[in-house]
């Protein structure tokens, strides 16, 4: 109830309109570019993970000594990396 009362005040309404306008402008001008930049980073991260964990996957990319040295940087990303590389991908995903 408190929330709905807050929503009714002209100030919060004004803020909502301002946020919506900002959101629309951001969405039109930059959201696609931000997503594209994130995707580029994702592919670079995939490469990094592959280089680091290549040994364990049976593809030795760099000597194990260096793999082990950069392993601490790779470990926090393993979960999301697995999630992303196992995902089904298709040409229609690449439209935008």
């Amino acid at each position: 109830m408190a929330e709905s009362k807050e929503e009714a005040t002209p100030r919060s309404r004004g803020k909502k309109v301002k946020d919506a306008a900002k959101g629309v402008l951001y969405g039109m001008a930059a959201h696609g570019h931000v997503t594209a930049a994130l995707r580029t980073r994702m592919y670079l991260e995939h490469l990094f993970m592959f280089i680091t964990l290549g040994d364990m996957l049976g593809v030795p990319v760099i000597p194990p000594y260096y793999s082990l040295k950069i392993l601490p940087y790779a470990v926090p990303n393993i979960k999301s990396w697995k999630q992303r590389v196992f995902r089904e991908r298709d040409f229609t995903d690449q439209v935008f």
Partner: protein, 610 residues
């Protein structure tokens, strides 16, 4: 006296009112009763959140993104052909097409993808129609991309060749400003607001320089071919360079003038009753129609041509790919699909309306050209839009309608709409080609440079030889057919979950039949032209091509060859489209039979519960 009926004002208000009914009436009803969207149900953005592809985004941001992704040259140039049959049928299609089909497809594609765990149309087609269906889709999309590219390259070349050569320098200015902004943003790591300010100042400067430094090529009738060559060089760079270096900052900068133009035209159209006293008056000059066939005897009958000529703004298949690609993966809650998918499409309808109005206020001879007049041949003055737009806007901002900066600005807007979209299309073609020919005998076509060269070379050949209206109608036919196929996919899903299907089945059947008929008509036109040539009549052959092939009698055999190639293109598009449609209708029938045979118990939001 102010006569509102002689201005476009009334039609803007009527269209806005009907679109409001489409959104708050029909749209909300479909959302509640057919798709049964549920705000509490987890969307793929939450289920598979990875912060890259899947993450929840505010509906306002997503609306802006969706609108920007779907609104381009289609709603601006489609009405140029559509208005041939009178402005009333064009207006009715923009209103009715969007009301019953357009928003339904965009919204339905998004909901379908959301209900299918954020998957895009490729895997969904595979699920519904099998491996062959997906291969069919892949082949269709490849052809579709070639045709879009041909139409857009032809348009960009024509735009550069028009407006007394004033738009080329501003275009290059935007591209260079984009390159600079990309470096400032990613290498120098400058603040995005400062980069935007610098970029926009450079865009303004290049716009100012446009009329001062006009570029007119000296090749006469070969000018279009030369401009198209320059265009494909730029597109080649856009397709092979990393996106943050070229496409991304350029598209970002281009966004500002492109969308400022839309807002200005809509304000201009709404203001017409209040500026009527000004001279010359801004009133409706074109014929209302309806004309059942093209009065100039070129395009053909109103059905099916009008329905493929005006694609985006009424309905467009490209939108289904966009809706199911990124937007569906970032939808925060299911109930956002209506404002994002449906709302963006209805807003695009307003852009089509604004463009239609920009043509309506111009004279008939100027827009349509005159049969037999070599200086103003029929259906070629695609530079009408900037003139109409400048006329509408000039009253509001208090400058002359012939102000060179104003016409250059709108001319530039046309170029950047075409160029930015085409850059993405070329890149997409490269990715699809890599998917198609990644292995096997033809794997050379999967190579980045070879596929880009093919994806630009073939369209260039079409663009510099075929008449632009023929390219546009093939593009419209393919685009609308894709829309029909997307609606059929939506219908199959609804059948599988025992939701009402007639609201999408009827539009789906209409679109598939109409667009296949349009492809048959177009193919027949080219075939008939070749047949007439064999009988000794050259008139049809040469009207389907552009200069210099059109005017040089020594090149008549090339004209025949081009007509024959267009017969082949039409036949292939028709064949793939028909095969795809048959698969989808079979799948729909099977889904209905299966759905009737089992109890409605699937765990899907669209399932009817007992």
């Amino acid at each position: 006296m102010v006569d509102i009926l002689s201005t476009p004002f009334l039609w803007v208000v009527v269209t806005m009112g009907l679109y409001a009914v489409a959104y708050w009436g029909y749209g909300k009803w479909i959302d509640r009763n057919v798709w049964r969207s549920n705000a509490k149900k987890a969307t793929p953005a939450h289920m598979y959140m990875d912060g890259v592809e899947y993450f929840p985004v505010s509906r306002y941001v997503l609306w802006g993104y969706q609108f920007k992704s779907v609104a381009a040259l289609g709603p601006i140039l489609g009405p140029f052909i559509g208005v041939t049959f009178g402005w009333l049928p064009a207006l009715l299609w923009i209103i009715g097409g969007n009301f019953f089909i357009g928003w339904l497809q965009d919204y339905g594609s998004m909901m379908l993808s959301v209900r299918k765990e954020g998957r895009s149309f490729g895997p969904i087609t595979y699920e519904f129609t099998g491996a062959r269906g997906r291969t069919n889709l892949l082949a269709f999309v490849l052809f579709y991309l070639v045709i879009i590219s041909a139409a857009f390259i032809a348009l960009i070349a024509t735009f550069w060749n028009s407006f007394k050569g004033t738009t080329f320098v501003p275009t290059i200015g935007i591209l260079l400003a984009g390159l600079l902004c990309g470096q400032l943003l990613y290498r120098v790591k400058m603040n995005v607001f400062a980069v935007t300010a610098i970029g926009l100042a450079l865009v303004g400067l290049s716009l100012y320089l446009g009329p001062i430094l006009p570029v007119i090529l000296p090749f006469g009738t070969w000018n279009i071919a030369a401009w198209a060559g320059i265009c494909i060089l730029i597109l080649y760079l856009a397709a092979v360079l990393p996106t943050p270096t070229f496409i991304q900052p350029t598209n970002y900068l281009a966004f500002y003038p492109a969308y400022a133009a839309i807002i200005l035209i809509l304000i201009g159209a709404l203001a017409t009753p209040f500026t009527l006293g000004a001279s010359p008056p801004v009133g409706i000059q074109l014929d209302m129609g309806p004309f059942l066939t093209d009065p100039q005897g070129i395009l053909g009958p109103i059905w099916p041509i009008l329905f493929v000529a005006i694609a985006c703004g009424a309905i467009s298949g490209w939108h289904s790919l966009v809706s199911s690609s990124s937007s569906a993966k970032q939808l925060d809650i299911e109930t956002d699909a209506l404002p994002v998918g449906g709302g963006a499409m209805l807003s695009e309808g307003m852009l089509a309306l604004a463009s239609l109005i920009a043509y309506m206020v111009l004279s008939k001879a100027f827009v349509f050209g005159v049969v037999g007049d070599p200086t103003n041949p029929p259906h070629t003055n695609i530079a009408s839009w900037p003139v109409g737009a400048a006329l509408l806007v000039s009253r509001v901002i208090g400058v002359s309608a012939t102000n060179v900066l104003l016409t250059t600005f709108f001319g530039l807007v046309l170029v950047i709409y075409a160029l930015t979209v085409q850059a993405l299309v070329t890149r997409f073609f490269r990715l699809v080609a890599a998917e198609t020919w990644s292995e096997g005998r033809f794997r050379v076509f999967g190579n980045k440079h070879v596929s880009t060269a093919v994806g630009l070379g073939v369209p260039w050949a079409f663009a510099v030889t075929g008449s632009w209206w023929a390219l546009w109608l093939y593009f419209g036919g393919a685009n609308q057919l894709l829309a029909g196929l997307a609606i059929m996919l939506i219908t199959i899903h609804l059948a599988k979950v025992r939701a009402p299907t007639k609201f999408s089945l009827i539009p789906g059947v209409f679109m598939v039949v109409t667009t296949l008929a349009a492809l048959v008509w177009q193919t027949w036109t080219f075939l008939y032209s070749v047949w007439l040539y064999v009988q000794g009549d050259k008139s049809w052959i040469i009207r389907n091509v552009r200069g210099p092939i059109q005017t040089d009698s020594n090149l008549i055999l090339i004209a025949v060859g081009i007509n024959a190639v267009f017969v082949l293109v039409g036949a292939v598009l028709f064949g793939i489209g028909l095969s795809m449609a048959i698969r989808l209708f079979r799948s729909y029938r099977t889904s209905m039979t299966e759905a009737r045979a089992r109890a409605p118990a699937a765990a899907d939001g669209g399932t009817r519960e007992k």
